[in-house]
């Protein structure tokens, strides 16, 4: 097969207003991702009532699996997923790989939360943003010809975020159980490296033109397969079953956590698509602040700690927000975006994917001749099965006996839903979820 010639890639300067709109959309997606990913971590607090981290992670992944099929079926239809895969079948490998990385990282985070607490573990694994910048620069031409101001904004912002994370880690020396604090720190940092690397498949998929909603449907086979393997290997089938049946009262909440995570992850995918991983990851890492709000206001995590701990946690969080702000104001401009196109061209040539398709999807629109997405009976069946499974588990659910403050939970939930509405509407109006 002849490679796609460079001339097939339109060298024209991208429409500046469209490009700016997509950048803003990516930034908004990053913030929405932060809110939803932060909210999703709250159910993992259930680890404190004695459920194995493996079981918690497995059940969350089952919720994730249901959401990763039902949401794309509901929004675009599975025919759109099939069409995407026909165009770039090689990306299935990267989707499975990314899913495996996610599952291992998620399990590590649960060990981390158990050993050093949610408010502290969050910033440690969020160091993945530095790795995202490195991979984005090395492999996908991100920040190339971006100019010193944007380099300062992105790298400086990420470093300020890390300083904030370090401040929060210092607070862990008083907050964490001494026997396992080092293990918890390793688990959180390991999760950060795995998640930071998981964005290589993300970016590769979106430079090639795949729709984020298509990518996640294959991604989820990797995460469910890996998580089931881990759970069976480490626990054994019979003990795993015993743990599942004994924890049936809280399975629904964990699955719900997985579902909420997927909504955050979908926004994160759009952020990675429209602003790249060097900016998208730090932006969605604002989930640390949401996690802190959930941990402290709803679960009373830092209740009774000394003034110095509060000062460290608040100071660290403020630094992280300053970093996020710096990155948000350093969006990619013309020359850098042309380098993104060079990276997309590499993918197009290497794997023989249509240049027109790649370019249209990078621009957040359908390729010429592409059928309009539509839903079939199969899509409604997928949605019905997912809803049914959630309903069955909801009937078995009991509210876990934890310190839980309903007022702050209602406020945080309302804010999170508002972001879903605003960002979802903008994605629909601007890209029709492409």
């Amino acid at each position: 097969m002849p490679p796609v010639s460079p001339s097939q890639f339109a060298p024209a300067i991208p429409d500046a207003s469209r490009s700016k709109k997509l950048q803003l959309l990516g930034i908004l997606s990053g913030f929405a991702a932060g809110a939803w990913l932060g909210a999703a971590e709250a159910p993992t607090k259930l680890v404190s009532i004695g459920i194995s981290p493996m079981v918690i992670s497995l059940i969350m992944v089952i919720g994730v699996f249901l959401a990763r099929w039902s949401l794309p079926a509901l929004i675009l239809g599975t025919s759109s997923v099939r069409a995407d895969v026909r165009r770039a079948p090689h990306l299935i490998i990267w989707a499975l790989l990314a899913g495996c990385l996610w599952a291992v990282a998620n399990t590590l985070t649960i060990f981390a939360i158990r050993d050093i607490g949610l408010s502290i573990a969050f910033p440690l694994w969020n160091s993945n943003s530095l790795l995202g910048i490195l991979w984005g620069f090395l492999f996908f031409n991100e920040l190339r010809q971006a100019g010193w101001r944007r380099w300062t904004g992105v790298l400086g912002g990420a470093l300020v975020m890390c300083a904030g994370a370090a401040l929060l880690a210092v607070a862990s020396s008083t907050a964490a159980p001494a026997a396992h604090s080092l293990r918890g720190v390793w688990a959180a940092l390991g999760a950060g490296i795995l998640w930071g690397t998981m964005y290589i498949p993300y970016r590769k998929a979106y430079l090639t033109g795949m729709n984020p909603l298509s990518f996640v449907t294959f991604f989820t086979f990797g995460e469910l397969g890996m998580m089931a393997t881990l759970a069976i290997t480490y626990l054994g089938l019979a003990p795993l079953w015993r743990e599942l049946t004994s924890a049936r009262d809280v399975l629904f909440w964990l699955m719900l956590g997985g579902f909420v995570w997927v909504i955050g992850d979908v926004f994160q995918q759009y952020a990675a698509k429209y602003v790249g991983i060097s900016r998208g990851i730090p932006l969605s890492n604002s989930n640390q602040l949401w996690g802190l709000l959930w941990g402290t206001l709803v679960f009373g995590e830092l209740h009774g700690r000394g003034v110095s701990t509060y000062t460290q946690v608040i100071g660290g969080s403020v630094l992280m927000m300053i970093g996020v702000g710096a990155i948000a104001f350093s969006s990619a401009i013309g020359k850098e975006q042309m380098r993104w196109k060079d990276a997309a061209q590499r993918e197009s040539q290497r794997y023989g994917v249509s240049a027109e398709y790649v370019e249209a999807r990078m621009d957040g629109r359908q390729a010429a001749g592409e059928l309009k997405p539509s839903r079939s009976a199969l899509d409604w069946f997928v949605v019905a099965v997912a809803t049914g499974v959630f309903t069955v588990f909801a009937t078995m659910a009991r509210a876990p006996r934890l310190s839980f403050h309903w007022g702050p939970a209602a406020v945080l939930s309302a804010a999170t839903l508002a972001l879903l509405l605003v960002c979802g509407l903008n994605l629909w109006r601007t890209t029709r979820f492409h």
């Binding site: 990267w94 291992v104 795995l194 590769k204 290497r350 794997y351 023989g352």
Partner: protein, 41 residues
């Protein structure tokens, strides 16, 4: 063959995947993550 269609040569596609550094970096990190999980468990 039209450049808009993906390469039907499965062997060629696998060769492209296996010689792509974008594949090996995540694989190496995944292996490291599994080792870490075994260590801390």
């Amino acid at each position: 063959m039209n450049a808009t269609e993906p390469d039907p040569n499965t062997r060629g596609r696998w060769a492209s995947i296996l010689s792509d550094i974008h594949f090996w970096v995540p694989v190496a990190v995944l292996m490291g993550g599994l080792l870490l999980l075994r260590f801390i468990r």
